[in-house]
Amino acid sequence: MSGVLVVFEQTGGQWNRMSFEALAAGQQLAASLGMDCSAAVLGQGVAGLAEELAGKKLAKAYSVEHALLAAYTADGYVVGLEQLVKQTTPDYVVFPHTYQVRDFAPALATRFKQVLISDVIAMHDGKTFVRQLLQGKLNADYTQTGAGPCFLSIQAGTFRADAVEAGTAPVEAVTVQLEAAQIRNKPGERFRESAQTVDLSAAPVIVSVGRGIGEQDNIGIVQELADALGAELAASRPICDAGWLPMERQVGSSGQTVSPKLYLAVGISGAIQHLVGMKGSKSIIAINKDENAPIFEVADYGVVGDLFEIVPALTKAIVAAKE
């Protein structure tokens, strides 16, 4: 066995940008272990993408082409990658922690009697991988104790895509055997429910509300604060799940990614799925009753207290300051 293999994700010839963050992690891991780092791209007509990878500091850029990999299916990717891993025998297989990876990588790891160490947020010595537990309240160290390849997925925003080292690598086409009968699911075209009318990514000021608001009728006090600030109103997933605000106002890994001048988080604890969507904000203010809420790990200013007392007082003070 040798080296680190980073598996890139592409859809219709477009990279999933998180792949480059995974490559930064893979290069760093390989460097710390004195190993080679290689990368692979799967699909149909991906030779051009493999050429792009050849411009990175890699031992090899693998291109895995097959007509049955044209559209993503878990079965196709598990069978194809199982063969790639057996042929290239890496010590580590690194993925970006995307929805697609979550769909197939655990099954792939199972084929090697391994367990994917998912959504890794830090790594130490090539042996210890850090991930979060309990909605971000705790960190945990994981180590691989099995003998096969170690499968990892890297959480969004953990490594910087611009840290990827450039270089020159040979491209190698890898042949995999796939039969149509092995692919049991038939995926349809990707679609969007409706045109997104709220573009939170462009908003300079966002006031965002979470579970702490308790019930739908209470959202009014947060709306008033947003109005006073001239801000867009946003929310964490549970608020949109409950139908209290439309899905298009959701910030997080399944919603929009935002980077406003100010992100004011009201009653949001800050699970990682939410943090990845908003931690690029320039300033973050968090109001939450739980002093141990993970949102305070990324906030510039924190207020521990009852949002039902603090939010109306803040709205009043802002209105007064503006007059």
């Binding site: 878990a74 537990l133 309990l134 001048k261 003070a317």
Partner: protein, 254 residues
């Protein structure tokens, strides 16, 4: 249609968490537990499918005796039967080990459809369902918002990233991991709670782990702060005044 729902019992979200003395997990003695929320959505989807297509909903949970309260709650909401895999050592089994326990229990039942939440609120690995499907040799799909049974198979709606979706046609039997928000969760009715007492709960003892763990959780600890957070204190009016100062002079949005 026989639907099996794999559920997990997890600490309440608001629970105060304390790290256990061995530094490898949390103190469990004073915790209150509840159904893993994504699994509650899986149960809801199963109950709605049964209402539309008929059949049976069986809930399955591995864990110590305390998980019976969560199974009873599922029965009160409308599940027909419950299976408890009694295991006090889940912490020393990795995803593969836990999925193997579930797989052994599922094989006996041979359901048409297996549902579970997309991830757990405690470990958050988001893998048990996918690994279970792989062990059973059945197809799966993850992060599902809607299920439509179509004769021999079904069409599911998957959530992709950035507001994209996709329909996927699948054969049965299969396993789906369910996303929150596709349905509204129901409450157990008084009648449901009464009825639950007469429903069957089967307890099976967990087999000893046949293989060593592939990965191990070696240490838990409080996360380090990524930013130096300035905490503002005082009465609500004082805090509001301090925040306005920050908004004016530091953040510069006023």
């Amino acid at each position: 249609m026989k639907i099996l729902v794999a559920i997990k019992q997890v600490p309440e979200r608001d629970a105060q968490i304390h790290i256990a003395a061995d530094g490898k997990w949390i103190e469990e003695d004073d915790l209150t537990y509840t159904i893993n929320e994504p699994d509650a959505y899986a149960l809801e989807e199963a109950l709605q499918l049964k209402e539309k297509n008929g059949g049976e909903v069986v809930v399955l949970c591995a864990g110590p005796e305390r998980v019976l309260t969560t199974l009873r709650e599922a029965l009160a909401k409308g599940a027909d039967r419950a299976i408890h895999i009694e295991a006090d050592d889940l912490g020393s089994r990795d995803t593969l080990g836990v999925a193997q326990l579930l797989a052994d229990a599922v094989k006996v039942e041979s359901p048409d459809l297996i549902l579970t939440g997309l991830q757990s609120d405690d470990l958050g690995l988001g893998q048990t369902g996918v690994v279970l499907a792989e062990l059973l040799g059945i197809p799966h799909a993850t992060i599902i918002m809607h299920v439509e049974v179509t004769g021999a198979g079904m069409t599911v709606k998957r959530e992709l990233e950035d507001g994209w979706f996709q329909h996927v046609e699948m054969p049965l039997p299969a396993l789906l991991t369910i996303q929150s928000g596709g349905n509204k969760l129901r409450y157990a009715t008084l009648m449901g709670i009464k009825k639950a007492k007469t429903k069957e709960t089967k307890t099976v003892e967990a087999a000893a782990a046949s293989e060593a763990q592939a990965v191990e959780l070696t240490r838990v600890y409080l996360p380090e702060k990524q930013k130096k957070t300035e905490m503002l204190t005082g009465s609500p009016a004082e805090i509001a005044a301090k925040l306005v100062e920050k908004l004016k002079f530091d953040v510069r949005v006023l």
